[in-house]
Symmetry: C2
Subunit: 138 residues, 2 copies
DNA sequence: TATATTTTGCAACGCTGTTGCATTGTATTA
DNA sequence: TAATACAATGCAACAGCGTTGCAAAATATA
């Protein structure tokens, strides 16, 4: 597991630092998506807020994680699948946010249906955000 | 037009105030969705920020406007269609945000496709947010 | 018009996210 | 391994969004 983390960082030409290792580890153990808030608390106040923001930015740029728009106006991040690095728009899965426990899931195996738009509109990205109760909170 | 505004407020049992009239008017003239920022500027610094926030909240509660989650983490609001007041989850249309001009459209006539979820998940709301170029920016 | 009720504006606050800069840590080369 | 170049971190400060409490002003009611 620990080797996976270092490999991932190296593969993306990132230098190995404590914060990057720790934050990547949090994502690997997380069941759903994480917000900055979650990381700040789960990392035990070990790193500066700014470092966390910058690490998240770096991970997004490298395609290690991706952002999820949410209705509650807070950016959430989730791990990308292995081979989704460059040029990938993440058009391919649905996000689900539980109203009860707040957990955000990436439903990787549910594909986003095609939506036909009026003439003149060109689509580069489609996000589907569903909310309701997850399997644990029914 | 002015009468429409007052009617709408009365129909929703809201007292007629300057800010409510002005903000509702802005929505009626707006082509797309509005963010708090837009309203604050378009109303010409006439009202306090707090008043705008509270007015928007009130309008959302009454079902006059609805919120749109966006990828850039800023809440946007758009007018609801006439009869979409209570209990309506706004499952029925797609939102489109133009990467060039930033305009957010409610595509009322494009219906949200059904997405089947894994067992145990219950859906109460589905938001589809598409981005790309709108008809004016192609 | 007088009274009760809402709404507004102000001040203050907390949270999110960003930037600049000095310091520290990591990678690289000999 | 040590010296150097480079990148990441922490700190301080800042801007923006959104909320709350309370007194003043506006609206509705009778």
């Amino acid at each position: 597991m620990h080797q996976t983390i270092i490999d991932t960082l190296k593969r993306n030409q990132l230098s190995i630092t404590d914060s990057r290792k720790k934050i990547l580890e949090l994502f690997l153990h997380a069941k759903g998506a994480l917000a900055h808030f979650d990381i700040e608390h789960q990392s035990g106040a070990e790193f500066d807020r700014v470092t966390i923001y910058r690490t998240l930015q770096t991970f997004v740029e490298k395609g290690i994680i991706h952002t999820i728009p949410t209705a509650d106006n807070s950016i959430r991040y989730a791990l990308c699948k292995d081979d989704c690095a460059n040029g990938h728009h993440h058009d391919d899965h649905v996000h689900f946010m539980c109203d009860s426990c707040g957990t955000t899931y990436c439903l990787d195996h549910v594909t986003v249906p095609q939506v036909s738009l009026p003439n003149g509109f060109t689509v580069t990205q489609t996000d589907v955000i569903m909310s309701g109760k997850c399997m644990k909170c029914v």
